[in-house]
C-alpha cells in the first residue's frame, strides 16, 4: 500500500511542479556508415537513423500515458560527423546536415545532435570541413545542433580552434539575422565535453559508446523550488545543511522517475539503456526556472552576492542526489543557467543585476557554462573567441565541463531584447566589456598547454 504522502508528493511533482522528462535521446553510432562517396554515406546514415529510432516517438507517447509524465522532447544524437564524415568537404558537410535534418523530420524528433567536431588538440581535415560548414548547415536545417570541443584538461586549450569558432559563431548569427542570430543558438563550444549528454545543443554519441543507446535527460527546477519552498514554510529552523538535504532528496526522486522511463523506452526499442542526466534545465515558463530557486532560498536575485555560493551548493546537491538514486548518472548532471531559456535569469540580466562577468564566475561551480547569452551584434569575432577562451579555461583548470553558447545578435546592442522562440526563449542582449575591440591575444593562436595536475592550490 502506498501512503497518501507518497501519492501526493508524486502527483504534485507531475501536476504542479513541471516535472518532465526534458528528453529521451537515442544515441546512434554512425561509424559503420562510413564511405568516401557522399551519396552512399547520406543514404546509409539516413537509413540507420530512421531504422534505429523508428519507434522512438510512439514509444515515448505510450510511456507518457502509462506514467502520466510528459516527455517534452525526443532527440537523436549521432557519432561526431567531423570523424565519420572525414573525407568530405564543407559543401558536402552541409548536405550531411540536411540529411540529418530530413531524418529528424521523418522521425518526428525535436533535435538531432552530433554535427560535431572534437578538436581540443588539433583539427583534422574532416573537422575543418565540418566547422567551415556550421553556419550554412545551421541556417538551412531546422533541427540540427552542432557542438565543437575545443579544450580539455588533458590537452589544454586549442586557441587556433577557439579563434576559428569566434568567426564561425559570428557568421552563423549573421546568416540568420532575421531571427536574431538563431543559428548561433544551436551551436555550442565545449571544454571537456561528455560523450553521453542527452541535452542540446551538446548531444553527440561518443566514440566509446555502444552501437545505439537510450539516455534520458530529466529536468525539474520547479520541483526543486517547490520542495525548498515547502520545507522553508514548514520548518522554522531550516538552515543550509537542511536545504542541501531537501535538494538532494528531491534530485534523487527526479532521477528515479527518469531512470524508470528511460529503461522502459530502451526495453521497448530493444536498445541498451545508457544514463540519466539529471540537470536542472529551465524552460522559459513560470515555475520552471533555476533563477527562481535563488529567490526562494533568500537571495534578492540571481546575480547578487551569494549567488555563486548557493549555485555551488545547488549543483553539488543535485549531483549527490542523482548519483545516489541511479548507478548510471552521466552527461552534465547539475544546474544549468541559460540566460534566454530561463525567465528569472533573463529578467535579472535585463535589470542589470546579473552581468556577464558574474555569470562567468558562477559557471566555475555549476554544470555547463555561458549558455544562451545574446551579445551585441558588433562584438568582434576576436572578442567572442576571447569570451570562449575564458570560459574554456575555467573548465580545463577545474577538470569540469564548461561550454559557451553565445549569440552575437546582428544589429542589436546591449540592453535590446531578442527572441528565439520555443525552448530557446528570449532575453536581453548583454554587454561585453570592450566587446567591439580587437584582441591581439586571441590572434596569437597556438595552444594553451594542459595544466599541471599536481601542486594543487
Amino acid at each position: 500500500m502506498l501512503t497518501p504522502k507518497e501519492i501526493i508528493s508524486t502527483l504534485q511533482m507531475v501536476r504542479e511542479e513541471n516535472l518532465d522528462l526534458r528528453t529521451v535521446t537515442v544515441g546512434i553510432n554512425l561509424t559503420d556508415c562510413v564511405s568516401d562517396d557522399i551519396e552512399t554515406f547520406k543514404r546509409k546514415i539516413y537509413d540507420k537513423i530512421t531504422r534505429t529510432a523508428g519507434q522512438l516517438v510512439v514509444t515515448c507517447k505510450q510511456i507518457e500515458r502509462r506514467y502520466g509524465i510528459e516527455v517534452a522532447n525526443k532527440r537523436i544524437s549521432v557519432s561526431p560527423i567531423g570523424v565519420v564524415g572525414a573525407p568530405f568537404n564543407a559543401d558536402q558537410m552541409v548536405e550531411i546536415a540536411l540529411t540529418l535534418d530530413k531524418a529528424a523530420i521523418e522521425l518526428g524528433v525535436d533535435f538531432v545532435g552530433g554535427f560535431s567536431a572534437l578538436v581540443e588538440k588539433g583539427m583534422s581535415r574532416g573537422d575543418q570541413a565540418l566547422i567551415q560548414a556550421i553556419p550554412q548547415a545551421l541556417t538551412e536545417s531546422q533541427r540540427v545542433c552542432s557542438s565543437v570541443n575545443v579544450a580539455s584538461t588533458r590537452a589544454g586549450l586549442n586557441m587556433d580552434a577557439i579563434k576559428r569558432m569566434g568567426v564561425i559563431i559570428k557568421q552563423a548569427a549573421e546568416m540568420t539575422a532575421d531571427d536574431d542570430g538563431l543559428a548561433a543558438a544551436k551551436l555550442v563550444v565545449f571544454a571537456n565535453i561528455p560523450q553521453d549528454v542527452p541535452f542540446m545543443a551538446g548531444a553527440y554519441l561518443g566514440i566509446g559508446e555502444a552501437d545505439a543507446v537510450v539516455s534520458v535527460g530529466v529536468s525539474g527546477p520547479g520541483v526543486v523550488k517547490a520542495a525548498l519552498h515547502r520545507a522553508m514554510a514548514e520548518e522554522e529552523n531550516l538552515d543550509l545543511s537542511r536545504a542541501a538535504d531537501v535538494i538532494k532528496q528531491t534530485a534523487a526522486r527526479l532521477t528515479r522517475a527518469g531512470e524508470l522511463v528511460g529503461r522502459e523506452v530502451a526495453e521497448i526499442l530493444g536498445l541498451p539503456f545508457g544514463i540519466v542526466d539529471l540537470s536542472l534545465a529551465p524552460t522559459p515558463n513560470e515555475n520552471d526556472s533555476v533563477g527562481e530557486i535563488f529567490e526562494t532560498i533568500g537571495l534578492p536575485a540571481i546575480g547578487a552576492p551569494g549567488s555563486t555560493a548557493f549555485l555551488a551548493m545547488l549543483n553539488d546537491a543535485v549531483k549527490k542526489g542523482g548519483a545516489f538514486a541511479s548507478s548510471h548518472v552521466g552527461g552534465l548532471s547539475g544546474a544549468f543557467i541559460p540566460v534566454c531559456e530561463d525567465l528569472t535569469i533573463a529578467r535579472s540580466a535585463a535589470e542589470g543585476t546579473l552581468r556577464l562577468e558574474k555569470l562567468e564566475a558562477m559557471t566555475a561551480v555549476c554544470s555547463v557554462g555561458l549558455d544562451m547569452i545574446a551579445l551585441p551584434g558588433d562584438t568582434s569575432a576576436e572578442m567572442l573567441s576571447a569570451v570562449i577562451a575564458d570560459e574554456m579555461a575555467i573548465g580545463v583548470i577545474n577538470k569540469k565541463t564548461t561550454a559557451a553558447r553565445l549569440i552575437p545578435a546582428p544589429g542589436k546592442k546591449a540592453g535590446d531584447h531578442v527572441v528565439f522562440g520555443g525552448l530557446l526563449g528570449e532575453g536581453p542582449v548583454m554587454a561585453v566589456n570592450l566587446g567591439d575591440q580587437e584582441n591581439r591575444f586571441v590572434r596569437l593562436g597556438g595552444r594553451i598547454p594542459a595544466p599541471i595536475q599536481s601542486l594543487v592550490n
Binding site: 497518501p4 507518497e6 501519492i7
Partner: protein, 188 residues
C-alpha cells in the same frame, strides 16, 4: 480447520486489540492474520483466527461481547471457509495502476468511478480518501489502487474515466504504480 473471520468496529480507544486478542488466547485460538484501520475516530479491525477443534464462532462471539462490555464495540465472528471466490482462484495477469481523482467531494463520486472500473474488469485493491476541504487540490483527493487485467484496453478505460471527470468537474488520472514506487522508495 476451524477458522473464523472476526470484524471489530467501534469508536477508537486504547485496549480494543488487547481485549480481543486476550479473549482469543483464552479460547486457545491463534490469530493468523489481521489488519486494523482508522477513519477519523472510527476503528475497524479484521482478524483471521484458527480456533480449537471444540470451539465455535458463536462461543467466541459470546465471550468477546461479554468481555468487551462498556467499550461499545460491534463484534461479529463469522465461520470462514478457505474457499476463495471464482474470480480469486482464476486471477488473470494484471498490471497495478493508481487512479487518482482530484476535486471536491460529492455524492456518488466513489460509485461512479468504482462502477466504471468494475465495468472494465478492474479490481480495486485499496482505496483511500483525503478530503480536508479547502482550495488546495491535494486536500481533496481520492486514491484507488487497482489491478488492471491485460485484456482491458487502457485507452477505453481512460476515455470512460475522462467522461466522468468532465461530468463531475474532477481531474482523474490513471498512472502505472511503478512511477509512485520508484519516486517514493529511494531505499530499496
Amino acid at each position: 480447520m476451524n477458522k473464523v473471520l472476526i470484524s471489530v468496529l467501534g469508536s477508537d480507544q486504547p485496549g480494543i486489540m488487547a481485549k480481543v486478542a486476550t479473549v482469543i488466547k483464552q479460547h486457545n485460538g491463534n490469530i493468523e492474520n489481521l489488519s486494523q484501520t482508522l477513519l477519523d475516530n472510527a476503528f475497524g479491525a479484521l482478524l483471521l483466527v484458527s480456533l480449537a477443534e471444540d470451539d465455535s464462532a458463536e462461543k467466541l462471539q459470546q465471550s468477546l461481547q461479554e468481555q468487551s462490555q462498556g467499550m461499545n464495540l460491534y463484534i461479529r465472528v463469522h465461520p470462514w471457509q478457505a474457499e476463495a471466490s471464482d474470480w480469486y482462484s482464476n486471477k488473470r495477469e494484471t498490471q497495478p495502476y493508481i487512479v487518482t481523482a482530484i476535486g471536491p467531494d460529492r455524492q456518488g463520486l466513489v460509485a461512479e468511478i468504482a462502477g466504471e472500473l468494475f465495468k472494465h474488469g478492474v479490481n480495486i485493491t485499496n482505496i483511500q480518501a483525503i478530503f480536508k476541504g479547502g482550495k488546495n487540490p491535494m486536500d481533496n483527493l481520492m486514491v484507488f489502487e487497482v489491478d488492471v487485467p491485460r485484456a482491458t484496453v487502457m485507452n477505453d478505460l481512460r476515455d470512460a474515466l475522462d467522461a466522468i471527470a468532465a461530468r463531475l468537474n474532477l481531474e482523474i488520472s490513471v498512472q502505472h504504480r511503478k512511477i509512485f514506487e520508484s519516486v517514493s522508495n529511494i531505499l530499496n
